[in-house]
Symmetry: C2
Subunit: 237 residues, 2 copies
Amino acid sequence: MNYKLYYWPAPFRGNFIRFLLEEADEKYEEAPVKDISELYSLPIEDQPLPMMAPPFLHDVERNVYLSQMPAIVMHLSEKLHLLPQDSYKSALCNKLVLDSNDVLIEITNYNGSVMWEREAWRQFRDKRLKRWLEIFEQTGRKYGLKSDSGFMLGGDQISTADIVAYALWGTMIRCLPELSADCRKHAPYIFGLCQRIESRRNISQLVKNQEKNYGKLYCGGQIEKSIRSMLEQDGKQ
Amino acid sequence: MNYKLYYWPAPFRGNFIRFLLEEADEKYEEAPVKDISELYSLPIEDQPLPMMAPPFLHDVERNVYLSQMPAIVMHLSEKLHLLPQDSYKSALCNKLVLDSNDVLIEITNYNGSVMWEREAWRQFRDKRLKRWLEIFEQTGRKYGLKSDSGFMLGGDQISTADIVAYALWGTMIRCLPELSADCRKHAPYIFGLCQRIESRRNISQLVKNQEKNYGKLYCGGQIEKSIRSMLEQDGKQ
């Protein structure tokens, strides 16, 4: 067992890390919730690394810890050889992880700090979410993604950019299927990429397990209820 | 001229990039505001890279663009040899940039999405800001930062971790001097580190220019007024 992931039993930010580990066929385990809470609540000086909030990753072999989803993703990507050789393309992987993190902050109305209201949600769905989808779509097209083949940054090797695009959009439209039409409309090539990544052996198995264990659970909490209520109201219009 | 930075004429997120370029003695220029607005407002498919919001960096030599402050910082850090050799310590630099970005989001009440109200501000200043300061302080102490010498991640070479700590906390307490006491109390070693970084030749010159051109301007906009109003009220209690 090479890695231990401390993240709530929900897809959301955790899937970025899980899918990387699965794609690279790494041995890892997920910490039970009580261990996450315990590590999270320790006084700063007693934590193995001073950290604010999960996800945390324990690199068991080196016995070091890391927090911040994008930092964990980039660190693992390098260790697991999932970054493009070219240093600029590697920076683009990081940029796409950060874009993804922004989308997660936005769809949860700033990490659930307030519940959604209609007007703000409409603005988000019609403008920001659309623009984010277009950003991923145009990035992929610029480098060689096609409607039925290819990868985000071109070449014939899967990279972190593809895993990230799927962790963001694939997870979102699986858990919130009403948004599937938005993705198909504003980012058709990304939609196709998500289907291809979802059928990869290990990732496919993990997604099946998540469906079985959590159903359509996305980020959890009150904010997930708020998102679903908005989607339901959108559907009635 | 090797780089062109597209960021509003304010310290805030821009200083993370500027200080790196200054420390490495790189030739760069800042784009005028009208060029920033123009690049920002282009349809996604006409942008040189699909990007949501500044800062943008144009790597003139390679003629490539990058967005997302933490991605720009890590890309430049690697090119300018400001990352520690050790891959885990390099990941810690990334983690500290991401922590910093979170602090910036928090102090502006989610990038200025709503103005501060007293109770939320008190919670932020007394709990979250304190904890963030402690996170930087304990990280530094763990690796060799002392009250009057040393760097964030140990060793005798300045790294991105030090530039980042100064870009976050040094800029904050210079522009919002009421918070100086919070830093000195909860993160005394970081306070000392900021003074040492501020006296480095190029950085010192840039900070003097910022003082001259922008005074104490921090992030700008309505949210800066809101932060200053909170600090003023805190001072009366």
